[in-house]
Amino acid sequence: MQEVKIIEIKKSIFADNDKDADALRKDLKDKGVFLLNLMSSPGSGKTTTLIRTINLLKDKLRIAVMEADIDSDVDAIKIKEGTGVESIQLHTGGMCHLDAEMTRQGLDNLVPGAADLVILENVGNLVCPAEFDTGAVKNAMILSVPEGHDKPLKYPLMFSICDLVLINKIDVMPYFDFDLDKCREYVHMRNPKASVIPICARTGEGVDAFAQWLLDQTEAWRGNKNDQLITLYA
């Protein structure tokens, strides 16, 4: 009988990514850059929401956007045309999510030192992006009304890792069986600490609340580096 040798490894395959993500967060802290990881299903209105929000914030913060998709650059162009801020497209090469290393490569391709707030628009998907820490300071997700208020029950991991849940397309609520109170309840069952902001990216309703959240979060993360910000816009 052939002899076999067994080498014990006992290592989570997410361990390296978690380490990379923590290292990236530390770099971002040192540089005073707030990175938001924005996730959602395809078609929930991520890009439209971003255009509205960035236009409210671009006089207060220097902003850049990284668009992650499996293919195409339509979103990066839309952001650039709609807001004028720096916007780059990341291709995941068929992968359904971004990891910390891919996020770092994206950040390395932005103009150095030119942004206080970087928004990463992750691949449209409620499963995989939740598994991989991108190194972002905060996670947010958009749930749109047509998807239904029961999504927090079906995709618990996504809702449990998000600091903020935006409920988009509230203008069409009368046409769907969407229960906003139930939705809040389900989100908080999965994550009692998550903030919930109802918005309509098309009409702009509630988008100011999201912009304020981003501004507060960015300032809190930058700490004493905000002095530079004030000088910049003085």
Binding site: Q2, V4, I7, I9, I13, L157
Partner: protein
């Protein structure tokens, strides 16, 4: 859905471990996969076959999966219960204050080399 991405991570870690141990060819990789890890074992082994055969060190290498049953714990009545069967609600006291003890593992347990 993200099994192929996970396979790339496994390949990277297995190759690193093999090189560290001076191994030229790995015959079996044993994974611990938790019941609620969101990894579908059948997809994982399908993706594995496709990707592993492209690596000389892993050609023909088998991916064996140990399933780790998911167990949750109720903070209110200190009971352990099956996560897949009862979800987030404790079957004994109906409390929602529960958390997962084990069952979300995606880890490489060991690699096997024929000598």
């Amino acid at each position: 859905m993200h099994e192929l991405g996970i396979v790339f991570y496994i390949i990277r870690d297995v190759k690193a471990a093999a090189e560290e141990n001076g191994v030229e060819h790995v015959d079996t990789v044993v994974m611990n996969i938790g019941e609620v890890s969101t990894v579908v074992p059948e997809y994982l082994t399908d993706c594995w076959r496709w990707a592993a055969d492209k690596e000389p060190m892993l050609q023909g290498c088998e991916l064996r999966i140990n399933t780790i049953p998911a167990v949750s714990y109720c903070e209110k009545c200190n009971t352990e219960f099956e996560t897949v069967r009862y979800g987030k609600t404790c079957p004994k006291c109906q409390s929602g204050k529960t958390y997962l003890l084990r069952g979300n593992e995606v880890e490489i347990k060991e690699i096997v080399i024929k000598q």
